[in-house]
């Protein structure tokens, strides 16, 4: 009916091409929306810099230089992107089912501790490494899987429970690293015993970046294929759209909820494994460096799309890589990057309100719009 009214408003001939354009334009705008909102967030952050008496131009120039300017900065950025990819998948996979899991940090630290503790006693080279990675994935999967289980079986909100589990995981890590698993030789910084040379992960040939990056990219590809081409992925999308309808269809909602959380947690656990075996060389408090938190932002910015995660993770890793230089050159505190992330995060979430509404007919604000309101037609005419 609204469509008919809308068509009346325009002279006959012009309506047809315009209507076809209307089908394309919203999709193009929706596609560009993440970029637009990212730009809006960065613009908001620039205003913040100006208000606090700093030059945004200098800031972005430094970010470019330290994050993407040289071969060295690229390898630094890509090394930081590796755990972000895996941490973001820990948010993106459950998000497909409509869950907001934000406790990936817990899986990272426990996966790291498990790998570090195991690596301290194993000496079989590659076999040990595989065993360490597997254990880290199992521990991380169990940790986040528990949040999914609690959600399904007890109706506990997964956002709150996963974050509480992350705090518990960090306490457990500190306890293990300073107590039972501590290497007596680590004086200033309590750590597990250092891994042997054979239990360390090297760099990808030709790149000065460890194998975690390749694993992360492969994991993104695999998750994309899983969601895109398998019945499991299809079922997950249905559960995300309407859990009750999915249950009525006979889909195993519980197994999907718990499974997606466990898989995400396993990948986050792998991130901890790579931090230990490729970067730190032993498990210590550096594992809780906030990678899990940045991973949340990466996943939201990529709209929980596994392939979108790759460029977004590299972009945010570049910002993090430049943090040190920005601090020294511009005399800004390290928390400035947190402020930037906050601005971008708010911008992308608020940007969701524009999705599908630019140029579209009958804005789907439905329940709040009183019957007989002319607003939808007005929106359409614009």
């Amino acid at each position: 009916m609204i469509d008919a009214q809308g068509a009346v408003r325009r002279p006959g001939g012009a309506a047809a091409p315009f209507a076809s354009l209307r089908g394309v334009a919203p999709r193009a705008i929706d596609g560009a929306l993440p970029l637009l909102t990212l730009a809006a967030g960065l613009a908001g952050f620039s205003v913040f810099l100006l208000l606090t008496g700093h030059s945004p131009a200098t800031f972005y120039a430094l970010v470019w230089k330290a994050g993407f300017g040289t071969a060295f900065s690229w390898s630094n950025t890509l090394s930081r992107a590796a755990p972000l990819l895996l941490a973001a998948l820990c948010v993106a996979l459950p998000a497909r089912l409509g869950l907001i899991v934000i406790g990936g940090e817990g899986a990272i630290v426990l996966g790291g501790v498990a790998a570090g503790g195991l690596g301290a006693v194993l000496t079989d080279g590659l076999t040990s490494l595989m065993l360490m990675g597997l254990t880290a994935a199992l521990v991380g999967g169990a940790w986040i899987g528990a949040a999914g289980w609690l959600r399904h079986r007890r109706g506990v909100n997964e956002t709150i429970s996963s974050l509480l589990l992350a705090y518990i995981a960090i306490a457990l890590m500190n306890h293990l690293v300073e107590g039972p698993l501590r290497d007596p030789a680590s004086l200033n910084k309590p750590s597990t015993a250092p891994l042997g040379e054979a239990e360390r992960i090297g760099t990808i040939p030709g790149l000065d970046v460890h194998w975690g990056l390749a694993t992360g990219v492969l994991a993104c590809l695999a998750c994309w294929a899983l969601l895109r081409f398998t019945t499991l992925g299809f079922a997950a999308r249905i559960v995300g759209g309407n859990p009750r309808a999915a249950a009525l269809q006979g889909l195993p909602v519980g197994a999907l909820v718990i499974g997606s959380c466990a898989l995400g947690g396993a990948l986050a656990g792998l991130a901890g494994f790579f931090e230990v075996a490729a970067v730190q060389g032993s498990a210590n408090a550096s594992l809780a460096a906030g990678v899990g938190l940045t991973g949340i932002l990466v996943s939201f910015l990529a709209r929980h799309h596994p392939l979108g995660i790759v460029p977004v993770a590299i972009l945010l890793a570049g910002f993090e890589a430049s943090s040190g230089l920005v601090q020294r050159r511009m005399d800004l505190p390290d928390a400035t990057m947190l402020v930037l992330q906050g601005f971008v995060f708010v911008a992308i979430l608020v940007g969701e309100t524009l999705r599908g509404r630019a140029f579209s007919r009958a804005a789907p604000v439905a329940p709040a719009a009183p019957v007989g309101n002319v607003a939808p037609i007005g929106v359409e005419a614009r």
Binding site: L164, L165, V339, Q341
Partner: protein
């Protein structure tokens, strides 16, 4: 800190004293979240508001020399964050839980950014009230040195319970929280009511932050809050959206948080980190016990999207 003459009795006494001291941020944040959730929204960002409140409260007290101006600054800053949350969420298709996570990040980031210069200078602390004059034991007296904000918070809990039950504003908030359709039929603007409730809730969370930096522990640093704001959000569920319940839950969790230092003071030092995790474990257990997969929680506002 030695326990001295009363020996092991020092542990329950220290837990009681700690419960009163440590519960204040829990109390204010959970009351703020209670008000917000009663209007039908979840504000997970109160963790960030708490940290920013702690910073702005401390900064206000350092700059003006008056801790009360610090508390006021924290409340104003908290209200600002609450208002931002409310405005963002009033747009269609903006998820309140996700915005909360974003504001958690933004609030913490801004607090650390602006708080750097205030880590060193000392600020005047909030005054305390002595309730232990009846006892000759100096430890009992020390334990009953109560933060003024604690007394204000207790009064506020009862006032809020009364407000929900007996006042027009309370009824309006409850209506909006329980049913958008009913609110619209009555000609109420859910957007405006939620704006008011979320802003006021943010202000309370800001005051909770000020109690951290201006009374206990009484200093500003970047480790000042480790999830108290988030625990307080979970407490509201435990308290069944009842302000008096929030008071009880805050005292319980304050006691759990004080257990670690109390045990340490009598020489039980092992597993320090594990004892420190007690409040998180307790929160999780409480959530598991009180939640149910099949029926909505008793007392839960109908519009609340905690379990969509």
């Amino acid at each position: 800190m030695s326990v001295g003459d009363i020996g092991w009795w020092g542990v329950p006494l220290a837990v009681l004293a700690g419960a009163i001291r440590v519960s204040v941020p829990f109390l204010f944040v959970s009351l703020g979240e209670c008000l917000t959730e009663r209007s039908g929204r979840v504000n997970l960002g109160l963790e960030g508001t708490l940290v920013f409140g702690a910073m702005s409260g401390y900064a206000g007290a350092v700059l003006t020399g008056s801790p009360w101006i610090g508390v006021l600054a924290a409340a104003v800053a908290g209200a600002g964050f609450g208002a931002l949350h409310a405005v963002c969420c009033s747009l269609p298709r903006v998820n309140d839980i996700a915005i909360g996570i974003a504001l958690m990040l933004l609030g913490t980031g801004l607090a650390f950014h602006f708080g750097k210069p205030f880590i060193q200078p000392p600020a005047p602390n909030l005054p305390s009230v002595s309730l232990g004059g009846w006892s000759s034991s100096s430890q009992v007296q020390a334990a009953l040195e109560v933060n003024v904000l604690f007394l204000i918070g207790v009064a506020l809990a009862f006032a809020m319970a009364w407000m929900f039950r007996r006042t027009r504003f309370g009824l309006v908030v409850r209506t909006v929280g329980d049913s958008d359709a009913a609110a619209r039929a009555l000609g109420l603007s859910s957007v405006r009511v939620r704006f008011a409730a979320t802003s006021l809730g943010g202000a309370l969370a800001g005051i909770g932050g000020a109690s951290l930096s201006l009374y206990y522990p009484g200093s500003w640093n970047e480790g000042i809050s480790s999830g108290q704001g988030l625990i307080a959000v979970a407490l509201v569920i435990f308290a069944r959206w009842n302000p008096i319940g929030c008071l009880g839950a805050s005292l319980l969790f304050g006691g759990a948080g004080a257990l670690g230092p109390a045990l340490q003071s009598v020489g039980v030092g092992g597993g320090y980190h594990l004892i420190g995790a007690a409040p998180y474990v307790l929160t999780l257990v409480v959530l598991i016990v009180t939640s149910s997969p099949t029926r909505p929680l008793a007392g839960a506002p109908g519009e609340l999207r905690l379990n969509r």
